[in-house]
């Protein structure tokens, strides 16, 4: 008998035995783990990192973004909103409308960039349309978090808060989402 078998006297046949009941109990414990996870999310007051938080309790501090007229269609500019880690992107769509989104891709959190006609995530080639931030191609399945903008009488542009993400209840999303437009028209 080798030294390690003497040092670790394991009966492999018995060690490999895993009864049906033990397996069922394992599944039940994993199920309880999911319940605990949901309970943790429920009790946790602070939003998850990178999560949308349109109902922020603290007062939003407006952030100056320069003059609205400085940004031409197809151009973009980066800015920080709530803190130095909250990277956002301001852009003017080809239609001439100003939009701002949180720069965090809803797939795995890479920074999206504006590529003229759509926002793109270079990590996994996810694309979002610039008008509403809906995903149109690639792995992301949820829209980007949108930032509310305000143009003041002097022409200055301000980021003033976060817009709630659109839901099926809040708007006719199926008609407005380009990815699902084919399903509507079909």
């Amino acid at each position: 008998m080798t030294w390690w078998r003497r040092a670790f006297p394991l009966e492999l046949a018995e060690e490999g035995h895993f009864s049906r009941r033990e397996f069922a109990r394992f599944l039940a414990v994993v199920s309880a783990g999911f319940t605990a996870g949901i309970g943790y999310l429920w009790l946790r007051k602070k939003p998850l990192e990178g999560a949308s938080d349109p109902e922020a309790k603290h007062a939003e501090l407006p952030v100056a973004l320069g003059l609205a007229a400085d940004l031409q269609p197809g151009q973009s500019r980066l800015f920080k909103f709530r803190d130095e880690h909250d990277a956002c992107i301001l852009l003017r769509t080809p239609k001439g409308e100003l939009r701002a989104y949180r720069q965090t891709c809803t797939h795995l959190g890479c920074a999206v960039r504006y590529a003229g006609e759509r926002l793109e995530c270079p990590c996994h080639l996810g694309f979002f349309e610039p008008d509403r931030g809906f995903p149109v191609q690639g792995p992301p399945s949820r829209p980007l978090a949108a930032i509310a903008l305000e143009v003041r009488p002097d022409g200055s542009l301000w980021a003033v808060g976060e817009l709630p993400k659109p839901t099926l209840e809040s708007l006719d999303r199926r008609a407005d989402c380009p990815r699902e437009k084919t399903e509507v028209t079909a």
């Binding site: 049906r20 009941r21 397996f23 069922a24 109990r25 599944l27 039940a28 994993v30 199920s31 309880a32 999911f34 319940t35 996870g37 949901i38 309970g39 999310l41 429920w42 939003p47 998850l48 990178g50 999560a51 949308s52 938080d53 349109p54 109902e55 809803t106 399945s141 949820r142 978090a145 709630p164 993400k165 839901t167």
Partner: protein, 74 residues
């Protein structure tokens, strides 16, 4: 000379299958809830928690209580 019959208690295959299905539902529920929370929709959490709790209770009941008796030496 007859040998005494041994009674063994096992979990039934049906109960094990139901437990597996419940776990798949739990996985889907958790993924959906996580997506909703990342979108800022926390209102789904209380309902999802109690649904998940009920599924876990059923899983635990099946794992510990659902039995089938087998008579015989093996």
């Amino acid at each position: 000379m007859t040998q005494p019959q041994i009674t063994r208690v096992r979990i039934s295959p049906a109960a094990l299958g139901v437990t597996l299905v419940l776990l798949v539902i739990q996985l889907y529920l958790f993924e959906t809830v996580l997506g909703a929370v990342l979108d800022g929709q926390r209102s789904v959490l209380p309902g999802a928690f109690f649904v998940s709790l009920a599924l876990t209770a059923i899983s635990l009941f099946l794992a510990f209580r659902s039995t089938v008796e087998h008579r015989g030496g093996d």
